[in-house]
């Protein structure tokens, strides 16, 4: 069954790389939606049902922690796995994300294998 995915990152480069990695990982992709920050993601998720979200933490307008917080409080999205893919390596931020319900965390820079391994345990 095809999996619709949303990639949230203010870097178009990272969105492109993650899209490519999902294809390489042979994830049965349906639609891949992209958003440039948390606010943009929430707007686009009004019209999109997704089965996986990959999100950066440090973004303008609305960061990944706030996005995670809002989605986990929303009945429509609280069961959707959200993986944080970020340069943010501080223990406090990572723990906060995991406590809020993030399904996992991958630090940038990452290899395709690291993303694949993380997703294998989630989807």
């Amino acid at each position: 069954m095809a999996l619709d995915v949303m990639i949230v990152d203010d870097s178009a480069a990272i969105r492109k790389i993650l899209h490519r990695v999902l294809v390489q990982a042979e994830v049965p992709l349906g639609q891949v939606h992209e958003a440039c920050d948390g606010k943009d993601a929430l707007e686009k998720l009004k019209d999109a049902k997704v089965g996986l979200i990959l999100s950066d933490i440090n973004m303008p307008n609305m960061d990944g922690i706030e996005l995670l917080n809002r989605l986990k409080a929303d009945d429509n999205f609280k069961s959707v796995p959200i993986v944080m893919v970020t340069t943010e390596g501080s223990q406090a931020k990572v723990l906060q994300a995991l406590e809020l319900g993030a399904a996992g965390y991958v630090r940038k820079p990452f290899t395709a294998e690291q993303i694949q391994e993380k997703l294998a345990g989630i989807i």
Partner: protein, 176 residues
């Protein structure tokens, strides 16, 4: 937390972060050249420079500069595409490379200095331009070579003004 970051710490942290980005995301060779200190801004530049600011109890700035040819090469390696000229994707790729390198240096130093913040990257592209970071007196300058191209990473970190003035206010009491 020791609260002290030496020049050697900066060179080590920047080198490790750069090597990791080059080996995992770019798959390009990287050779470290001789680091040095600089008390002035770089002279008029050509090419691309990506800047990321650090904030918190310590403030600073990291910048990665290279020729437009090198920027196209790095972007091509990151995005697995061919870029004959600098375009928005090249600038975005340079921003992300700077974000990953300086972001990981920031994370490294948080163990010593406590939580630090990272700004959104800014990328400048042009000919014969000057950049200036207010208040910066000492840069650690770390050149690298990748193939036939070179890039230069500059990094500075200092106690923020608030912290500095707090330290200065406390100093007489400590001496007494």
């Amino acid at each position: 937390m020791s609260g002290i970051v030496t020049s050697e710490d900066i060179v080590t942290a920047v080198t490790e972060a750069t090597e990791e980005v080059f080996s995992t995301m770019l798959n390009l060779p990287l050779e470290k050249l001789n680091p040095q200190t600089a008390t002035s801004e770089p002279p008029g530049s050509d090419g691309v420079v990506a800047l990321v600011g650090i904030g918190g109890s310590w403030t600073g700035s990291g910048r990665i500069g290279c020729s437009k040819k090198a920027a196209c090469k790095l972007a091509g390696a990151l995005l697995m595409s061919n870029y004959p000229e600098v375009d928005e994707e090249v600038l975005d790729a340079m921003a992300e490379v700077a974000n990953m390198v300086i972001g990981n240096v920031k994370t490294n130093f948080e163990g010593k200095l406590g939580p630090l913040g990272l700004s959104v990257p800014t990328v400048v592209f042009g000919r014969n331009y000057y950049t200036r970071s207010a208040g910066v007196q000492n840069w650690m300058v770390m050149p690298f070579r990748t193939g036939e191209d070179e890039l230069e990473i500059r990094f500075c970190l200092m106690p923020s003004q608030t912290t500095q003035s707090r330290v200065e206010r406390l100093r007489p009491q400590v001496v007494a």
